[in-house]
Symmetry: C2
Subunit: 127 residues, 2 copies
């Protein structure tokens, strides 16, 4: 028997939707899903292109995304084995909302940097 | 003189857009911006409605959002002082993309839970 969640509420800490939000409202998830938008990628490619992500964080985030049914991991039997990640149909549905977040950051960065300068100028160091 | 960022790339770890993404692709930011969608809110209201957020995390996230120019903090001189937070015009532009992420989590939670069960059933505990 399956329990269907019909009234998910991310504001409730015990609601499974909160856990889902925790996964997808995350910098590394946003960057990984963005990389997989158009085609499968190898682990080494993701590691190289997503600057600053550690091996451990990439491994863990990919495993979580696989467990959530957002990404599949395919191992090709060759030497050395080739491992590729790609979005599942469910993962594909995240492309658009996640691209919107990424795009927002790129478009509005100047306003943010300006606001930060103003804020910092009004407050003495460390206050 | 102002340096304008015209080719922001969130995949570069030294790019300011990466920092912006780090702020907005975050569970607590998503929940706070969602709370402020329609009207100003008091600190105590945010603390109560966003289950599981600590006083410290709420204080820090609100301060970061204020510094980024996304939220304003208004203190009303009364006893005890009333402190209200509301979205700036820049913060308003985040409403839609952030609501889309929240909505995605609420709509797709059953598929995620199902995928997790399948994944866990295929793997012995702790492997």
């Amino acid at each position: 028997m399956e329990t269907r969640i019909t009234n998910g509420n991310v504001y409730k800490k015990a609601c499974p939707t909160r856990l889902a939000l925790d996964r997808i409202a995350d910098k590394w998830t946003t960057l990984i899903i963005g990389m997989l938008e158009n085609r499968p990628r190898r682990f080494s490619e993701l590691k190289r292109e997503i600057e600053g992500i550690s091996q451990k964080m990439l491994t863990q985030t990919l495993r979580d995304l696989e467990r959530d049914g957002l990404v599949t991991r395919t191992v090709y039997a060759q030497v050395p084995p080739r491992v590729e990640y790609q979005l599942t149909p469910l993962g594909q549905t995240l492309r658009e909302p996640i691209a919107a977040i990424r795009h927002w950051a790129e478009v509005n960065i100047n306003d943010i940097v300006r606001a930060q300068s103003v804020y910092d100028a009004q407050r003495p160091e460390g206050s």
